[in-house]
């Protein structure tokens, strides 16, 4: 923040003021036939757009499987509403950024349900295999797809051990301005990066808490004072397919 010049701060302020005055929704201007300049309203951010991501942080989730109930699908609904993807009657091709998984031990009959999404690995195979670098990991550990350089080869989907990624098979309508998607590109859970950047927690975590389950906890894994780090230090937790050595940012308790 201290590196930002007064001039930059002024520009940022006037830009925000302009956007506020422009009113709700997206501001668009036709520059020429076929070329449209779009600007999105930008509410007060926890992080300025020209401020780098904090590499000392490692955002993560802790999912307490015991608190997750089988008939509840609220985290999935919240994600769908927040990010604009939806199950549209064709589950084989519709995007699913988060899904409820049910596992059953066939020998004992013991069952558990819990959500699975992008596990935001520290060593993500999707990032390794992506030929163009569209799959990338932010300095704070959030794994994302740059929709502008994704060529839609789907190799990341082959490489992901969690089936966390979806390919956009159909033209899209009514996208959320904070969660851009693109036909012919790959997408997955962004850990609600737009909310995290303004100091909020992901939509699924919020909704789970609102519904009184509190099965999902979000926080900085690197900060020993954070609740998530303290819980991880106190209780036994698991990573799915820990054998692959990916160091996932999403952990499970009581799994």
């Amino acid at each position: 923040m201290s590196n930002i010049s007064l001039k930059d701060q002024y520009i940022n302020k006037t830009r925000r003021d302009f956007l506020k005055k422009a009113g709700a929704g997206v501001t668009t201007a036709m520059l020429a036939s076929g070329i449209t300049l779009m600007a999105y309203p930008d509410p007060a951010l926890a992080r300025e757009p020209n401020e780098g991501v904090d590499p000392t942080k490692r955002w993560g989730l802790l999912i307490d499987v015991n608190k997750c109930t089988e008939d509840c699908n609220e985290c999935v609904t919240a994600c769908s509403q927040e990010n604009g993807w939806k199950l549209d009657g064709n589950p084989a091709v519709d995007s699913q950024w988060i899904r409820k998984l049910k596992i059953k031990n066939p020998k004992t009959g013991f069952e558990q349900t819990f959500p699975v999404m992008c596990q935001h690995c520290a060593n993500p195979p999707c990032v390794d295999v992506c030929p163009t670098g569209a799959s990338f990991k932010r300095a704070d550990g959030i794994v994302l797809v740059d929709k502008h350089i994704c060529i839609g080869c789907r190799y990341c989907m082959m490489a992901c051990p969690y089936k966390a990624r979806s390919f956009v098979h159909e033209p899209l309508e009514d996208q959320k301005s904070h969660a851009p998607r693109g036909k012919g590109t790959v997408e997955s859970c962004t850990l609600c990066v737009h909310r995290v950047d303004r100091g909020d927690q992901p939509a699924c975590v919020d909704r789970c808490a609102t519904k009184g389950h509190g099965a999902l906890m979000f926080g900085d894994l690197n900060d020993p004072k954070s609740e998530i780090a303290k819980t991880l230090a106190t209780y036994a937790t698991k990573q799915i397919r820990a054998d692959l050595g990916l160091d996932t940012g999403v952990r499970y308790q009581n799994l």
Binding site: K102, P106, V127, I151, P161
Partner: protein, 405 residues
Amino acid sequence: MALPIAYSSINSGKGFYATLALLAGFIAAGAAAFLYVEHHGHVVTGMTNQIVWGLPHVFAIFLIVAASGALNVASIGSVFNKKAYKPLSRISGVLALALLAGGLAVLLLDLGRPDRMIVAITTYNFKSIFAWNIILYSGFMAIVGAYVYMQMAKGMEKYKRPLGILAFIWRLALTTGTGSIFGWLVARQGYDAAIMAPLFIAMSLSFGMAAFILVVKYTGKATGNLLGSKMTWRMGRLMGIMAAAVLYFTTVRNLGNLYAAEHAGVEEFILFSGNIFTKLFWFGQILIGGVLPLVLLFAPNKGESSSRVTLASVLIIIGGFAQLYVIIVGGQAYPLVMFPGMEVSSSFQDGVVASYMPSIYEAALGLGGVAISLLIVVFAMMAFKLLPRDMSDAALDPHHAVKAK
């Protein structure tokens, strides 16, 4: 000293224009399929979020793998100095380039964003084996292109062998890269095996040889310049050895998977319970693509037969497609194991065998790629003097006449 080999171009022959029209028709159908999928999205194909690579990838990888193998004849001539193969080096190099071009066309046109081809060429993630392959393919084009040029240009004789050796090493690297696209997928139980690299090398040697034999024999027949039966048999037996190598690596790979409990599920699926994949494995790959060609080529007391080589080549190509279908689609159809020993279910088809029915558009795109390859070969044969004017045994093999006496 033997007379220099005379080469000629072709511009006529039995069914020449019919062949051109047929190939153009397939390319038009492939182009239409591409535009349709590009407009509507991949929802109109059989591919899903479970089977992300389908029939187009089977065609593309077959063509790319065969491209490297089509260079066999040129390599044997330049690198291993077998004189009888040298006159066929030009067409060998051109066929290799054409097959690669066709395969890459299918691969690129199946992308979700084919309009971003320039991104794929200019933006690299150097850790990605996929990106390495883009470099390997481009390099193959450049090296083999130069190699073919040196063979045809006057006074460039001295560069032929070094370039031939470079091309030989490069093609081994290329197929290693293609096999490793699958072999290095550690997350999936159906892949995750370093043996995929040598397996793909053996596949390339076998499929490429089959494609070469069929193209040269067909052209020779259509233009009344028959490929000598001795030479055909020699190349056929060589192809048979490569086909045996494919069976060998397949056996080791499957035995290795059976041994590891971790991989037993997917192995049981492919070998016994996988319906279409099990049938394609045993009947397509093993019987049609492996055992039958070996019987045709190595059965004792049967003598040499040019037509048996043709049949074996066709069978090896059919078996090759079956094998790639089992590897590519079968490997994805088996559910990803996240919780070993557990039954898993979800709205995202976790824990269930994914179904895949290729659409007509995928088939049209794949066949269009094959047609692109073949049309490039025909145009190249029209534009350049690629084939020896006389492909009889006596003309090709300096030792043939001696042996005949």
